[in-house]
Amino acid sequence: MNQQQILDALAGLSLFSDLDRPQLQAVAHTMSEESFPAGQRILREGFTGAGFFVILDGEVTVRVDGDDVARLGKGDFFGEISLLLGEPPIADVVTSGPVQALQLAGPDLRAFLLAYPVVMYRMLQSVSRRLDRANRRS
């Protein structure tokens, strides 16, 4: 993806929906663009060294103990829970096909969120919503 395509992709994500164009550019510069082939394990259950990923294109499968529990696609993000808690992931995240993503290294997530409080608020809403769903399922 070229820079314009990345910005266009970011502009469509709810996570970044409160940012203006210059802020989106700054975010794109802060994160690194990664390409993954099909079948690649981006996050490994139980292994530290996780990062924060925003999917620009493609699909991943979330796998726990060998069972597929969720699919994530364009606009979804993952890895933040492990980083926020300082704990290893409790799931594998594996690419279903080729995936383009933006990545933020683990240690940088906290500073990034504090620098972009509106993004942190969107993430807060996302985590809140997921917790709500998990509570309703149990």
Binding site: L85, P117, V127, R129, L131, A134, S138
Partner: protein, 142 residues
């Protein structure tokens, strides 16, 4: 019971959610919050109603109930209602006073403006919820 602003401050500073906040933010929270008293078993919030506030238990306690299932019992210093406050969705559960109970309530619009002014508060809440999400996800696996 009627808490002075100073008492509210002292109380709020004990709540992990507000740990690390500046004095100015604590003061704004203290001023923005309202006290509510509930008799034993009186509903504090009802499942299904649009959430509009975060409740901190000052004295007494709350039984958190979804449908017919009791999810939790909370006590002094604990809070509930934060999910609806952040996401403006219907309450996931009801809360009933566990004995005579007093709460300090923070309206959703006041919480949002404070979160926007103090990113550390947002980070605290984000980590609290992340921990709960992980516990909930781990429970679902077994």
């Amino acid at each position: 019971m009627s808490l002075t602003t100073e008492e509210r401050r002292t109380w709020l500073e004990r709540v992990p959610l507000f740990r690390g906040c500046s004095s100015e933010i604590i003061d704004q929270l203290a001023d923005a919050m309202a006290e509510f008293e509930f008799a034993a078993d009186q509903p504090i919030v009802q499942q299904g109603q649009v959430g509009n506030g975060l409740y901190v238990i000052v004295s007494g306690g709350a039984r958190i109930v979804a449908g017919s299932e009791e999810l939790a019992r909370l006590g002094s210093g604990e809070f509930f209602g934060e999910l609806s406050v952040i996401d403006q969705r219907p309450r996931a559960a009801s809360a009933f006073a566990d004995g005579a109970t007093t709460c300090l309530a923070l309206a959703s619009w006041d919480l949002v403006s404070v979160l926007e002014r103090d990113p550390r508060l947002a980070m605290n809440l984000l980590r609290e919820l992340a921990g709960r999400l992980r516990m909930a996800d781990e429970q679902l696996r077994h």
